[in-house]
Symmetry: C2
Amino acid sequence: MLILLDMKVDSSKNKQSLQELIDTRDFVQHLSVDCVIFGFHENILKVLLLKYHDLDLWSLPGGFIFNDENLDDAAFRVLYERTHLEDIFLEQFHTFGSIDRTENNVHQILLKNKNIELPKDHWIFQRFITVGYCSLIDFSLVDTFPDAFNETCAWFEVDDLPPMAFDHEIIITAGLEHIRKNIDTQLVASNLLPEKFTMKELQNVYETVLDEKFRRNNFQRKVLAENSLERLEKLFDGSANKAPYLYRFMPKSK
Amino acid sequence: MLILLDMKVDSSKNKQSLQELIDTRDFVQHLSVDCVIFGFHENILKVLLLKYHDLDLWSLPGGFIFNDENLDDAAFRVLYERTHLEDIFLEQFHTFGSIDRTENNVHQILLKNKNIELPKDHWIFQRFITVGYCSLIDFSLVDTFPDAFNETCAWFEVDDLPPMAFDHEIIITAGLEHIRKNIDTQLVASNLLPEKFTMKELQNVYETVLDEKFRRNNFQRKVLAENSLERLEKLFDGSANKAPYLYRFMPKSK
DNA sequence: GCAAAAGTGTTGTTTTTACACCCATGT
DNA sequence: ACATGGGTGTAAAAACAACACTTTTGC
């Protein structure tokens, strides 16, 4: 996780209030949520990572679960806090619970640097089990913002990741695998693509996510055979060639 | 879950020691593991359920996770405690974490009936998040044993389930879906089938799990095309017909 | 020889793949 | 007109489905 520093806290509050927040029993202890948010833009697949200034490790945007909060809701909340995106398709894919995944417990350093004192046996320093969620979005729609706690948000190409906290690299790999296996569902449900899109745009997404090339015509046939696309008007973008049709995902039917 | 009453406790110990066990902080609080154990026997797919005598609800065999225990190991331990099976393929498939899933908290009744006193705000009475694991085994190999805590073990057909505790019926449905999607992997990895088996036995498993009929010859072709089966000697079982070949899953390759 | 169950073959259909060709568009 | 990129057609290959036929086994 590493998100505790970014809960729905009024950023004007000082460290004391943050400490209070952690001290309270509002969270489900020993459990967290981590979001693997894949961003797609100009044929590059990236993943959203965070970094606190006083730490050399990057980590996934994650957070704790409130005692009175549905697990899924917690994931949505975290996603919102990071990307300010709402109503996005976010899917649980795996829960990571090995003992040693939090061995190198970054929280200690982090809290120490912020002069926050917690009892040594506080649950935050112990083993953590995290539930992984993933999402596929258009990263040009997201404003990554350095927030009140001096963190940095950045997109990284999935095959060129920086040093990561905990087992987050493993989580990303698992998340990517999930996206690839479920790309059809993901695409229809996510709002990665605009309302209307061309066949080429759709193909670009498939090729980038699956890291695989397809033939133009065969791809079209295959994807149209699914019967989930509706053909709309043509798109005239001023280029000197035949205008492509626009498509959109069918409302529901089938 | 509902498993706390069946941890690795010496059954000669009395309720006091049980209470002590629950009182200690040995467990990861608010978290449990539930196993959906599908049994296959004589072309019927069943699921293993438990019932405590002083309760009218059935539940999945589940348990808590020790603080120093890997999540996966916890699942294996629970499976062992229930079925005395080891080295079985057991796979995590989903984590259930909605607030209301433990609304009808069975623990209260259960503990009350056993005269075990716990503080009202004990974590065991509050919300629970559970990690679902599933497995596919030959249920004729399992000895279901009523254990020290007076519970009953029984197999139920998946489409004829008794009243269940918590959201366990939902968990079973999700587990079944997972098994169906991953039947190939499951079968190779599980030891549902004996070392050597006939094509008909294999087909029976597929048909029962997927609830779908196949043609004998086409099934054989398809499954052999996977290239994961090795043909062995014939099986002479004394019946008045051509002896079928025995097969086994290939050691590894491909 | 016969019934029963397993193995193999064959044919037609559907789906996938690769290649070719035609069509629209702005300069 | 022409280069560019999108749409459509088609033939070969592969995969799948349905059916028929042959083989083996114990009685």
